[in-house]
């Protein structure tokens, strides 16, 4: 277990419904990450297929593990990096059940996945039309640290990052496809999730324009005190590497010990109240 970790934020635009091109692109960035000494490279939400594929999702979704995960695993092995990317996952038990999933692969192979819990279906978003929500917040113990995954709109709900942290995450990776009108929310909430959980958070957003939506980029690594360690450009493809030191968690958490000060008894009340809205 190492203390420091170099993370590459691969803020890419993706080709609509073109897995071959998108894997090629992710491969190129994984090579770049390796060359720059990064041990983890992160791609945006649904980076395998692109975000807005609408009905094509039924043809594009794959099981996990599956052919694309295998290819991404090969890329991880070849480049000795861990990779987080996003893809539509079809259930192995029910053919029309699809999840919006973040996948973690590494030099040792396929490691695990997270299924998006909060599916935006309002304004321009229609995720519940296509996806089923996930239920679990697994944390993956790896050679580069304990990593939890979440996706985009999940950041509006403190429960996800809290659960990941309580399950042991030192680094929360949030992959995203957020359009420009929502930028300020994400800039605030990503920092809030890091601060309130004494945890590192790496946020990677999509760029490009799809059906009038302009994805704003602005990917970043945030420290447990809310400071931005590294930030990618707005609105254009970018690749940025930042280094984190897990030792920082200890002294920051001692200064604002949010995890120590949790009040689990409030959760019962929260549950009851939220069921009665």
């Amino acid at each position: 277990m190492v203390n420091t970790l170099k993370i590459a934020l691969a803020q890419i635009s993706c080709k609509r419904a073109d897995k071959v091109s998108n894997i090629e692109k992710m491969k190129a960035y994984a090579e770049k990450a390796n060359k720059e000494g990064a041990k983890l490279v992160i791609f945006p939400e649904l980076s395998l297929t692109d975000y807005l594929v609408r009905d094509l999702i039924y043809e594009l979704a794959e099981p996990i593990p599956g052919p694309s995960v295998e290819k991404m695993t090969e890329i991880a092995k070849e480049n000795q990096v861990y990779i987080v990317f996003g893809m539509p996952e079809v259930s192995q038990k029910a053919e029309s059940v699809i999840y919006n999933t973040a996948v973690l692969v590494g030099p040792e192979g396929y490691i695990g996945k997270y299924r998006k819990m909060h599916l935006p279906t309002h304004s321009v978003f229609e995720e519940k039309r296509y996806f089923k929500q996930g239920y679990k917040t697994p944390v993956f113990e790896t050679k580069i640290g304990r990593i939890g995954l979440m996706i985009c709109y999940d950041v509006f709900f403190p429960e996800v990052s809290r659960a990941l942290r309580l399950n042991g995450a030192q680094l929360i990776v949030c992959i995203s496809a957020s359009p420009a009108v929502r930028r300020k929310f994400f800039e605030i909430l990503t920092a809030a999730r890091a601060i309130e959980n004494n945890v590192f958070l790496a946020y990677v957003n999509l760029v490009g324009i799809e059906e009038g939506l302009q994805f704003w980029g602005g990917s970043r690594i945030i420290g447990p005190n809310g400071s931005i360690i590294v930030k990618a450009k707005y609105h254009e493809e970018d690749f940025t590497v930042g280094e984190i030191d897990f030792k920082d968690i200890k002294h920051i958490a001692a200064f604002v010990p949010t995890i120590r000060d949790l009040r689990p008894e409030l959760y019962e009340e929260l549950k009851e109240a939220s069921e009665k809205i």
């Binding site: 609509r16 807005l52 009905d55 420009a180 324009i209 799809e210 059906e211 302009q214």
Partner: protein, 288 residues
Amino acid sequence: MTQNDQKVKNLKLTPQVLELNWGNVAERIKNFIRDYVEKADAEGIVLGISGGVDSSTVAAISALAIGGKRVLGLIMPEEETYNPKDVEDAKRVAEKFGIKTEIIDLSNILKAFYNAIPNFNEQDRVSKGNIKARTRMICIYYYANAQNRIVIGSSDKSETMMGYFTKWGDVAADISPLMDLYKTQVRKLALHIGVPKEIALKPSTPALWPNQTAEKELGMKYEILDLILYGLERFMSPQEIANQLNLPVKTVEEIKARWIANEHKRRMPLTVKIQYRTPGADFRLPRT
């Protein structure tokens, strides 16, 4: 907290709520146009330019996005509504932004339509006027097809939400970059990107018949209409809007009724749900 946050929180219908960061808006519209033209692998853009604020703004911003040389502005006067000042204004904007222009006199085409249609009613100025808007569309699309150009529409949000346009006429386009900006906002954007002030602020007309002005037909100034539309967009009740703007509630209710009634002009034609996936309903493919 920015000014923008304040206004959302308070929902006070003052002109300030329509203020946006115009530099940012211009940048996003330029990116949108550039991206669309690139992805379509088009040679450039074609649009009708009337000398009014909407078409001048979209022409100017198209030129800023992809270069004026790749933008073709069609000036399409016709006898009945001919106004040399409009033609002059259209040319002025084109010149300022380095846009190529062509003039097409529609008079003879229109006369041919009028003569060819049995029982053509000269007095029915709406039906007749709509022929003009649709004829302009035909000419624009001719150039789009012949020269591999994208048609950029000039519709703004005020006209779109009021249904104040000709179905399949002036609204017909491949993309409409101003459609999420109310008229008074388009004027602000126009000034920001350097459209001459006189053009940015001049009264709008669809030029369907002589001396037609949009505000006269809509029954109020755009400054008021835009605030009503802004309130409706944010789910405010007509009563609330009327109270804030000191208007009779009936006026706001009439605008709201029109706002809803014109949805048919903003959507794909309805069809009957018969099969598995239906165009315009649940056939949902990505637009590339």
